[in-house]
Subunit: 99 residues, 2 copies
Amino acid sequence: MPGIHLEPDQATELAEVFHLLGEPNRLRLVCSCLDEPVSVHDLAEQLGISSSLVSHHLRLLKAARLMRAEKRGRQVFYQAADEHVRRMLRDMTDHLDEE
Amino acid sequence: MPGIHLEPDQATELAEVFHLLGEPNRLRLVCSCLDEPVSVHDLAEQLGISSSLVSHHLRLLKAARLMRAEKRGRQVFYQAADEHVRRMLRDMTDHLDEE
DNA sequence: TTCATATGTGAACATATCTTCATATATTTA
DNA sequence: TAAATATATGAAGATATGTTCACATATGAA
């Protein structure tokens, strides 16, 4: 069972992912879009925060490739970027439940 | 494949874990102590930061039960709190490698 | 076109956070 | 005892961050 040695660059890279998920609103945004695309408006309603704030957070999540956007008419639907992100979050929530 | 619905409280709880691991120095501290206890002094040397800073970060990690401390003489050895934390970080670093 | 709706963006502010420095406490050595 | 080492802690400052507000852009409806 060898230890994990992270080069400073890798630590920074992984820490950036953790950092983005370390804000409750952002975390809930990702979790709300794990299985199906959801519009900005619906996300704002679900979380009970303004569309503007949702948009700000989504921009960061999209820039980090944790989420991706798809435009349909005048709405934009967001979802988790890939199966990788989905597994990652399922692992973490599983760990949370075990405690 | 049902979605993950997080109550606000759960989101905050999980986000706190992510938030703590979202700082590069703290993330490296945890990763350095996954398999064996390491003293504050050695951790500071490994990461190239001051013992004071290490101590500040370890205090947060310990308070969140991500790490635990064991005193031996005038040194204090820290390690990941349990197998749970170890698996969690291994999962995440595995995901990082896959990309 | 005009109006309403959906989303994005920049500025500004309050707050949080990381780091450094000085200092305190505890333990071992001389 | 005194000195040296290891760790912890509080204050202070620079920076980062989350949120709100105002406004811009884009698309569809009337």
